[in-house]
């Protein structure tokens, strides 16, 4: 049967692809960490990791920013989720928009915006100093935690508000009937039901926090985490230490893996109990409570979106060289137009190519996973977990380790950047395609077959039209991740393959915030457009951004 052959070929190609793009790079990282600079097998790197205080510190710092980010995101996210889903908040949709803005804002532009406001020469800090209030600059671990909390709270907010608005009100009413006070109800009934959502959202924040490279890099001022240590060791002009960089990468993968597994476990428990018949109603608060709820929600929302607001404003400020002048102008955009066209073009072509690949390959493999259960698809499903646990910086280093020498040399090419984005985002598409396919009753295709169509025609004419909107939406969301990707590109880029996020990073290091802000705004507009298109195709569904 030809059908059998087609899927066998797909299966084999999928494994080959995973092998080349995933197992070889991960394997190279492992192998490289077990050799010294001159190529002799050794475990010295790990001993060094265990022995040197510098690495201990980075390890501890990673956990600190991870758990700190988790706590901060939990705090902000659950307050916001609780207020928005239980009280009538004016402009509720706008608040959700602010959360989305925080989520899709270009990486670490956040960090820099906060420096602009609260750094050593920060605007707000200067203003406060004039008022006689002296506050420390935002650098160090405190600053990192503030930025992480504000950047990652939407994960908690989106997860928990989803769960909260689906808690069956009958349960709370039943508890009320049994004589529980509102406080008891909250802790005994509602809290246990949203607990999985809380932990799943919080762990998502933690995973992103420990993988984040830009924020500690810009705000840390000596506060190093594993991600920055790996990058420093890799990129040092003198004495670049690849084997030590890969050792740290392995440690980072292991740490990340623990939390990813935990997160997935909690997500699976996060099934909504609601039968949707008796949905909770929002209460209209009165007096100071109402004011308090609004202040809390808008404070969190606006603070989270602050970096975006700042960079949009600053992108229009008049500049002289890198220095801001008073007044507004389009100089920063002119600079992009005249000097940075290739960077924008790179970003667009790389992202679009990666997304096209992701959509095509992801859909075919998704079909394979959903429909050909007789193949060993459980194993395949498991293999697709690997990219989830790989922080971007690690993917970058792994690709360098794998494709620098040997049969396939890709370093310095556009291909390597595209492939790194591709492999990181592919699992999402595979999963969403597979799950939307599983929701379509197989009898639909059987009906078409009974009417005289071949199985392939039936799939093409009946099933594909049903999943295409979801695929387009997923592709758009992949585009958002692809075009904002910094950490792996930072390892993989060369002069001719520079992308917008990399350029923004370098501009900030050079102190040219005007151009960085303008580039960020361009990124933001592209991301916003993609999210808008995605929502057009699948309905406004913030959960899909997680």
């Amino acid at each position: 049967m030809p059908r059998f052959n087609f899927w066998t070929v797909v299966m084999i190609l999928t494994w080959v692809m995973l092998f080349v793009l995933l197992f070889i790079p991960v394997g190279s990282v492992l192998v490289s960490s077990l050799y010294d600079q001159s190529g002799n097998p050794t475990i010295a790197n790990y001993l060094k990791f265990l022995g040197e205080p510098r690495f201990h510190q980075a390890f501890i710092n990673t956990l600190v920013v991870g758990f700190g980010g988790l706590i901060g995101a939990l705090l902000l996210g659950s307050i916001m989720a609780f207020c928005v889903s239980r009280f009538v908040i004016g402009g509720g949709r706008f608040v959700s928009l602010l959360a989305i803005l925080a989520l899709v804002s270009p990486p670490f532009i956040g960090a820099y915006s906060w420096i602009v406001l609260f750094g050593a020469g920060g605007v707000v800090r200067g203003f406060l100093r004039d008022m006689g209030v002296n506050m420390p600059p935002i650098y160090g671990v405190g600053g990192i935690l503030i930025v992480f909390s504000l950047k990652f709270y939407p994960y908690v907010y989106l997860m928990v508000s989803g769960a909260l608005s689906n808690v069956n009100r009958s349960l709370e009413e039943a508890a009320e009937g049994l004589g529980l006070t509102p406080l008891q109800r909250t802790f005994k009934i509602s809290f246990p039901m949203v607990f999985p959502a809380l932990t799943a959202g919080g762990l998502l924040a933690l995973i992103h926090a420990i993988a984040d490279f830009g924020t500690p890099r810009l705000l840390g001022r000596g506060y190093n985490v594993l991600a920055t240590e790996a990058f420093t060791l890799y990129s040092a002009e003198v004495g670049s230490n690849m084997s030590m960089a890969t050792t740290i990468s392995v440690v980072l993968i292991l740490v990340s893996m623990v939390f990813v597994l935990l997160q997935r476990y909690m997500s699976r428990r996060n099934v909504y109990h609601g039968n949707m018949i008796n949905k909770p109603v929002r209460i209209k608060l009165k007096g100071w409570r109402n004011v308090l709820a609004h202040v809390a929600v808008y404070f969190i929302g606006l603070s989270g979106a602050m970096p975006v607001i700042i960079s949009v404003i600053y992108s229009f400020r008049k500049t002289s060289g890198p220095v801001f002048q008073s007044g507004f102008a389009l100089q920063s955009y002119e600079r992009i137009l005249f000097n940075l066209g290739d960077v924008v073009r790179n970003s667009l072509t790389f992202s679009l190519t990666a997304v096209a690949l992701i959509v095509i390959v992801g859909t075919v493999v998704g079909v394979l996973v959903a429909r050909r259960t007789n193949f060993n698809t459980a194993l395949l499903d498991g293999a697709f977990m690997v990219p989830y646990v790989m922080p971007g910086i690690v993917i970058g280093i792994a690709f360098i380790a794998a494709f620098n020498t040997g049969p396939i040399v890709l370093t310095g090419t556009a291909t390597i950047i595209i492939l790194s984005v591709f492999i990181r985002r592919l699992p999402y598409t595979v999963r969403t395609t597979a799950s939307s396919l599983r929701q379509i009753s197989p009898s639909m295709e059987e009906a078409a077959i009974s009417l005289g169509y071949s199985p392939f025609q039936a799939f093409l004419r009946i099933t594909v039209p049903l999943i295409v909107p979801g695929i387009i939406a997923g592709g758009m969301l992949s585009f958002v991740t692809a075009i904002n990707e910094l950490s792996s590109s930072l390892v993989l880029y060369v002069g001719s393959t520079m992308t917008m996020p990399v350029r923004i990073y370098l501009l900030i290091l050079d102190g040219d915030f005007g151009t960085a802000a303008a580039l960020s705004t361009v990124l933001l507009v592209l991301s916003g457009g993609a999210v808008y298109i995605a929502f057009r195709f699948m309905g406004r569904n913030e959960q899909a951004l997680l």
Binding site: S443, A447, I449, G452, Y453, Q457, P465, L466
Partner: protein, 361 residues
């Protein structure tokens, strides 16, 4: 017009036998129903006929041509699914037209046939609705039209009515029966609802655990069940155990309390000993002479009541009585049950197989 012949058919799911060895002849143009309890293999068998299930052994023939290796698309079947399986992105008319599109039928002819098909299921007025905008019954009508419009050799339906409410089910089964008669298509219909099966079928195959227990017209399987399983599954019945006595070439059944029946001409020759007697509710009447009993419970059901009584042997007998104006039966009230001995059927006490004359022993 097509007849279907199944010979020595076997189906396994990963080594688990679902249908061990099945033979069946479905005649040209008949409405044939597979009836049996959940998990007995009805769907499995239907999907084998459709070509969606593999066949481990045996043959399926349409008009004496073996079609085991023919793909479902090439079998010229119409199929109606329990879940309707309408294409959600297409209107009713487009759904119905979908099967005609692969068949190279002229546009005008296609439009005419789609309209006729929708008309036959009384859905012409909703032809531009999407499935999401139709009720379950309306969707199932469209699904039926979609299956009929391609003029299939065989129409296959798997519990098409089980997602509908009770009243709609009765209405829909008339529509189905009507449409099938009109088109004269050989139809295989799956249900676990015996009343539905009786109402629509020309013939019924009663299945249990992958084995056909009996094939016959509704009246045949009701009046003359091949075994205890069929007697209990089709309609209601009371089973009591009694002894046969043989003297001078006359076989009598002793019902107790001096009541006995001459069964020489009803029971197969040579049977003796313990037998199970199936007493249909309608074979029981209160009053006259017969067996002593005590009323246990009466359930008032509107037009009639269902009364449960206990015999002096401790066995329970249920029977029906048309509602009277007078008061209901009291619990514990004495009653005499008269049995219509013409309507009794008999089974071997051990195997449960029918021991009626003419039954295959």
């Amino acid at each position: 017009m097509t007849s279907i012949t199944l010979r020595s058919l076997r189906k396994e799911y990963n080594g688990q036998v679902a249908i061990p060895n099945l033979d069946l002849d479905i005649h040209d143009g008949e409405f044939f129903t597979l009836l049996g309890p959940s998990g007995c293999g009805k769907t499995t068998l239907l999907r084998m006929i459709a070509g969606f299930n593999s066949i481990e052994a045996g043959t399926i023939s349409f008009d004496d041509v073996v079609i085991n290796d023919r793909s479902p698309a090439a079998r010229n079947i119409g199929m109606v699914f329990q879940s309707y399986a309408l294409f959600p992105q297409m209107t009713a008319a487009k759904n119905v037209a979908f099967g005609l599109q692969t068949r190279n039928i002229e546009r005008a002819e296609s439009i005419r046939r789609v309209e006729a098909a929708l008309e036959s299921v009384h859905m012409a007025h909703l032809k531009d609705r999407l499935p999401g905008e139709m009720s379950g019954g309306q969707q199932q009508r469209v699904a039926l039209a979609r299956a009929l419009v391609i003029q299939p050799a065989v129409l296959l339906m798997d519990e098409p009515l089980s997602n509908l409410d009770a009243k709609l089910r009765v209405e829909m089964r008339d529509t189905i029966r009507e449409a099938q008669r009109e088109a004269g298509i050989t139809t295989v219909y799956v249900t676990h609802d015996q009343e539905e099966a009786m109402a629509v079928s020309d013939r019924i195959a009663v299945m249990s655990m992958g084995v056909v227990q009996q094939v016959g017209s509704p009246a045949e399987i009701y009046r003359n069940p091949a075994n205890r399983f069929v007697a209990e599954f089709i309609g209601k019945t009371n089973l009591i155990v009694r002894d046969l006595h043989q003297r001078d070439g006359v076989t009598t059944l002793d019902l107790g309390e001096g009541v006995s029946v001459d069964v020489t001409s009803t029971i197969a020759p040579g049977v003796s000993g313990r037998v199970q007697v199936s007493v249909r509710p309608e074979a029981v009447r209160a009053g006259g002479s017969g067996l002593q009993a005590e009323v246990v419970e009466e359930t008032f059901l509107g037009s009639h009541s269902q009364i449960r009584a206990r015999l002096s042997t401790g066995e329970t007998i249920e029977f029906l009585e048309f509602s009277r104006r007078a008061s209901l039966w009291e619990r514990g009230e004495k009653v005499v049950l008269q049995l219509d001995t013409e309507m009794l059927t008999y089974f071997d006490a051990e195997t449960g197989a029918s021991i009626m004359q003419g039954a295959k022993l």
